[in-house]
Symmetry: C2
Subunit: 101 residues, 2 copies
């Protein structure tokens, strides 16, 4: 199975934004931004593994992540440099935790 990781410039902005416009996926992206490359299973945000797999697929197909096999696991990482180049400031703006009040 090709992991279907598109060229970021070929992904419409709306798809990138839609991929980020979900709470679970945003948590995944935040975790990746902080923790670097991580196994799929490390994102346990109260959803089933089927749902998690679905969200990772959305992120991957929106050009936000890359996935590679590593034994029985799969390692996911943010395509941060590409994102920062194409959408400078986007990730920073989104990932910055806002003041609670």
């Amino acid at each position: 199975m090709e992991p279907h990781e598109p060229d970021l410039t070929a992904v419409p902005v709306t798809s990138v934004l839609a991929a980020l416009a979900d709470d679970v996926r945003l948590q995944i992206v935040r975790a990746l931004a902080e923790g670097g490359e991580s196994a799929c299973g490390s994102f346990d945000f109260g959803v089933s593994k089927a749902t998690r797999s679905h969200h990772l697929k959305v992120l991957r197909e929106a050009g936000l992540t890359r996935t590679r096999a590593a034994g029985t696991s799969r390692l996911v990482r943010l395509r941060r440099d590409e994102l920062d180049k194409l959408y400078p400031g986007l990730l920073d703006a989104i990932l910055t935790q806002r003041p609670p009040a």
Copy 2:
């Protein structure tokens, strides 16, 4: 009818992103960023006025725009300064037209 324009800090990031993750709404935001305050009717992007009204409502309730009545029309404007303050770089990153290739 109060226009229901929330405090931006009270709007979840995902709602802001979701509001921007639609082609019609993104066109509206682009037009507002370029043209400043505009009447609702000036956004004729091939959708009915009902649909346009719906999209403007989504943008307003996501904290992206402000609306004020002006005679028979309604003028809409981007809350750019607030957005730039809370999400620095977000609008710029999104509104910048990417190279076609």
